[in-house]
């Protein structure tokens, strides 16, 4: 049960010129991407950094996404937040209450009281970073903590944090680690996974679907769909790319 998630990472250097410039051009670009892909997208994942770099006008577009994306398609706020309790509570309010998003990515480094406040919203999913797609995942996530690898410890601890909480806990597992993905799937067969790293980051879509072994998962593609071309036929190229990925990923 995998579905295509489209990452919304608006990069001023890559947005085709005909959309315009600045936050306004970015909004046109995002609108076009949604229009061209919402028939196959099972989720969208806006990456907060890319909106924040545009300043307040860019953040405005982020807060407005729920009105631009069909309501039946969940929005995963890729925020990687995590802080002391009262601060995590404010981040959770921001993403679930103010933005009306359906899910968020959370960084577990600060431990239990930094993750729990995100789990207080019924019907939402909290994707905790376990094993990320980047090379730096080797530095701490794959280090041996006590008798087990850090990312396994994160998974076990997070499952414990979520007991009796209204929100659902899930995990971020990079598509660049298919062997570990298989192992994680064995550990948590029912947990929702968010799997980024297909396309520009090198993860192979079909291999990931196989490794996921039928569990609930969104597999994310960002640059591989968003920046199909810089030409004026960007909308149709984006549609084609999204449909190609959907064929493999919407299972």
């Amino acid at each position: 049960m995998t579905g295509l998630c489209i990452g919304l990472d608006p990069d001023p250097k890559k947005i085709p010129a005909h959309y315009g410039t600045g936050a306004e051009g970015m909004e046109n670009f995002i609108e076009s991407v949604i229009e061209s892909t919402s028939h196959v997208a099972r989720a969208y994942k806006p990456n907060f950094a890319f909106f924040e770099q545009y300043g307040p006008e860019g953040v405005n577009v982020l807060y407005g996404l729920r009105d631009m994306i069909p309501i039946e398609i969940p929005i995963i706020g890729d925020a990687k937040r995590g802080d002391i309790g009262n601060t995590s509570r404010a981040y959770a309010r921001s993403v679930f209450h103010t933005m009306h998003f359906n899910a968020i990515t959370v960084n577990p480094f600060m431990g239990s009281d930094s993750v729990r406040p995100f789990l207080e919203y019924e019907g939402t999913t909290v994707y905790v970073l376990a094993l990320t797609s980047n090379a730096g995942s080797a530095d701490f996530q794959r280090s041996l903590c006590g008798s087990e690898l850090m990312y396994k410890r994160v998974i076990k601890s997070s499952i414990a944090y979520a007991i009796d909480q209204p929100g659902t806990v899930g995990f971020v597992v990079g598509a660049t680690h298919p062997d570990e993905l298989r192992e994680i799937r064995d550990m948590v067969p029912e947990s929702p996974l968010l799997i980024p790293g297909v396309g520009a980051q090198g993860g192979d879509a079909a291999a990931i679907v196989a490794a996921n072994n039928g569990g609930p998962a969104f597999i994310n593609v960002s640059r591989g769909i968003l920046y199909a071309t810089t030409e004026s036929d960007h909308a149709s190229q984006t549609r084609m790319k999204a449909e190609e990925y959907a064929k493999i990923l919407n299972q």
Copy 2:
């Protein structure tokens, strides 16, 4: 060489009524706090979550802080960001280039390529989370990774990430751990530290100054100064509180 850092954590439930409500009331409140404390504050530390929860109008205030705070006082963006390389690069651009802040807090969980992009800005300081002030710091930061505690490994790795980078690396060490602070100070006598947790979180100001042993450090107080009272004399009470802390912390 310690200095008082004032945390800007605007909490809609605690802002005195006479400032008004919503983002506008929040902006009045922040303006008043800055006016009442800038004669003793050595830095300000806006906590992004508290602005983001107000929606785009709140974020607008965050982006406008550099114009509200006297230019000689550094602003530390308490964002706890960290993501894959191209995303960290966008967060860094947002905080250093768009907001014109002087420093940021960064979460090291995703490793080298998630931290390095923040170090590319000359004259800025990147405070990497080492040992945070909350109870959850026991979950991963104090776990044994290989032969050493995770937070010590984070410190050593981050020092390595910063070699030959134009930015300066520093560390976040909670005031709730004075013994570990002393140890960390021995490890990195010259590194800038950001020490939150004094006041509401229970850290003792004088004990922290002693444990810091003369190294360069900002000691942060948020709730202990911001929410001195909900009465109409809030501005003068805030001034008094800030002056009290400054007497102990500006050494």
